[in-house]
Symmetry: C2
């Protein structure tokens, strides 16, 4: 796949009219994401670079790019804002990066549903959607910069998952329009269960050009910090709140000490040594919160109604922003992604690992139940030790979605999704889309 | 408590300006509810009559009535539309019925919340609330005629419970205003956990004069009938749909054959011998339904979008309207109310009882989980046999909320709620409000 410089010039020439980036610093920046949260991925991916970045404005330009890539057998890796954490959009085999950020049109926006281009930024979308009383169902902590297409292709959960579950739940994506990486690129549309082919597919299964997404009613979300003397009181409170069907909520984020000490901007509300909950609750249900908090010996130190929130949302301290804040204080910290399934298992791991694995929980719905998911912080020493930690969790019934690997399968449930592989064979027979990320297609080891 | 006719005349005279009903047919009608669903309650309650019905228009009139009742030590039983099924508003010790239907003002209606008088009819309320995009969170199948106050006082679940759980879930009632039955009646307000004192209290714990209720976003609800060859496929489908967090829903109602044959108006959509699901689903999530239905070998025979629904809603075939339709075909049928907790237990009972207990499930959220609740139809023979059926369920881990008894406790979990009793001692020290309904106060046997 080594293509000489003049060959790249020839390719660039054929893309006349489409924005092209060839400056090496820019290419470096647009070749990477937040993979550096993982010291293991950092070593593996830090030198990966595309040869060229293209920034199409519309589907016609995408088709032109796909055709050219197929014709020259050049890898193409699609990218949103690059806010992923496992190198989802890092080009392992160089080639072209397709940056979707100029494809940022909202085609239509109606109560309950919208059709958007993949490069629409999530917070910007919500600003418009809220004018008609709606908002995105699920969004990550990188909400301000992340794109909708990037989240569908590389994400899986976020704020809102406590109500709507994972992105892959039936109903959370209505329709998707794709360009195929074939000799004559085609435009195809998927709906119903077929949309599963692109969710969390890292862009290996087609180039998304349009998404039809269901929306959630836009509540005025109050934000609240509650502190606890005991970590397990905080964890049990998180479960009880998540199970309270009469309280409408968007974020239930629980942090063991010393994580709250990493939230520099929130220190006025986080006394040293306390554990905390960061919450987003419908303003209409605030009155019901007091008794629940009292039941778990919590203390409210911060409570702002939607209109009073001037600065940063608590969202930007939750999900993987927690890891970001922690690493800015202590770069030796990294993280894991864990389904504990039960609070008993959370407590077991809390006791067993002590300071080495500090527990951060995000509650979300899975299979109809609210479960504690871990984005726990790990004091990193060696890759061997990290794998021991993972193995201990798995041996004790937790499920780890390993964020220190870059293939879809190794970061997921370590099994091949034959439907996705089959679909890829159809729409990208030469494996040019983000090569090396789908083990089932590339015949890679499932654990790496 | 026997008060002579001329004494009643004296009482009526003192209520001048307030609507009073003394005509005996009218009194008979307003003394009863749908208690006749139970052949046992029918025998026990059919002759119960109030001496007088009063129909106040506002809180000032309620205070006047309470004062007079206290002064003459006359029982007072509050009533909404009388759509309850366990004699909640039937006066065991005669006295006065306070009919709230003239207290039907909506004080205010804002996004997410409303303040209403107890006699506001639920469907009428929703008509107004939907104009600003909201609706009631939970409502019974008697939605068209039932009052909000009657539902809070006598109900517990209904359509919407698949999202918001039971009425008693924290958050489902914001604030309540009461008149006490004391020498000098007081007006008190309850909020937070204190509202539990009135929910499902049969009006024994104060006379509700105002309610502040949280609302739900008003989706356009599509209605759907799905038929199945196997009952357990229908039941499993109900659970899977209820657990699908990406599909917004309001009603998941499952009926074993021959129940569908009782739904005369729906016969075009219900082939003989099939089992069925009656559903209300957000129109925005209809596309996601197809694959789910196929997974359980279901067949859609009826699907109407909100605007296409001209006649009766499927709601009026679900919850206890199922029993109503069944009894209009076969008056020997009665029913039970059951928490099965698991589908395994549903199947066990389905196999064990055969035609004697035909299973009707309504899915609802309890403790954060979607559970199958039974309103199963029972082919009634004797009270002894009915109790055997109840005992068999309970011996096998199901929980029965017995609808063949008239006290709060016997119809609930058979334990005394000491907080409610204590509260009643404070606001109704002489036990004049709906006497005989709260075992803990009246020192009655907990199972009758």
């Amino acid at each position: 796949m080594t293509t000489h410089l003049n060959a790249w010039q020839a390719i660039a020439d054929k893309l006349k009219g489409i924005e092209i980036i060839t400056e090496s610093n820019q290419i470096a920046k647009l070749s990477l994401d937040y993979y550096h949260f993982s010291p293991i991925l950092y070593e593996q991916l830090k030198d990966k670079r595309a040869d060229l970045v293209v920034r199409p404005s519309n589907e016609a330009e995408v088709i032109k790019i796909a055709q050219l890539c197929y014709c020259h057998q050049v890898p193409l890796t699609v990218r949103g804002a690059g806010t992923g954490n496992y190198g989802q959009c890092i080009p392992l085999e160089a080639g072209i990066i397709l940056d979707t950020t100029k494809m940022n049109q909202i085609h239509w926006l109606k109560p309950g549903m919208a059709a958007v281009e993949p490069g629409v930024k999530m917070a910007a979308f919500d600003k418009q959607a809220r004018e008609i009383g709606w908002e995105l169902r699920i969004a990550p902590s990188t909400y301000r910069t992340a794109t909708i297409g990037g989240f569908i292709g590389g994400g899986s959960v976020g704020m809102g998952s406590i109500t709507y579950g994972q992105l892959k739940e039936r109903g959370n994506l209505q329709r998707v329009r794709l360009v195929t990486m074939t000799e004559t690129p085609e435009v195809i549309e998927l709906s119903g269960d077929e949309v599963q082919q692109v969710i969390h597919g890292y862009g290996t299964t087609g180039i998304i050009t349009q998404l039809e997404i269901p929306l959630a009613p836009a509540y005025p979300w109050a934000e609240m910090i509650v502190i606890f003397d005991q970590f397990m009181s905080a964890a049990k409170f998180g479960q009880a709140l998540s199970d309270s069907d009469g309280i409408v909520k968007k974020l239930v984020s629980i942090h063991a000490a010393p994580i709250p000490s990493y939230f520099t901007a929130l220190q006025n509300y986080l006394p040293s040594g306390k554990h905390c909950a960061l919450l987003m609750i419908s303003e209409y249900d605030l009155a019901a919160m007091k008794a629940l908090i009292a039941e778990y010996q919590g203390e409210i130190t911060y409570c702002k109604k939607a209109k009073e929130i001037a600065g940063t949302s608590l969202l930007e301290f939750a999900w993987n922003h927690t890891t970001l804040h922690a690493r800015s204080v202590d770069p030796n910290l990294t993280y894991l992604q864990t389904f504990y399934f039960t609070l008993e298992r959370v407590e077991q791991m809390y006791q067993y690992f002590g300071d080495e694995v500090v527990i951060h929980l995000e509650f979300l719905k899975a299979g109809g139940k609210a479960v504690p998911a871990g984005l726990q912080l790990v004091r990193y020493t060696t890759a061997t030790r990290l794998n021991q930690i993972i193995d201990y969790h798995e041996a004790n019934g937790a499920f780890i979605a390993n964020p220190h690997v870059y293939t879809i399968e190794a970061g997921g449930n370590k099994t091949i999704d034959h439907q996705k592989v089959q679909f890829k064979h159809k729409i990208d027979p030469c494996g040019l889309l983000n090569p090396g990320k789908m083990s089932g297609f590339s015949k890679l080891n499932l654990r790496n």
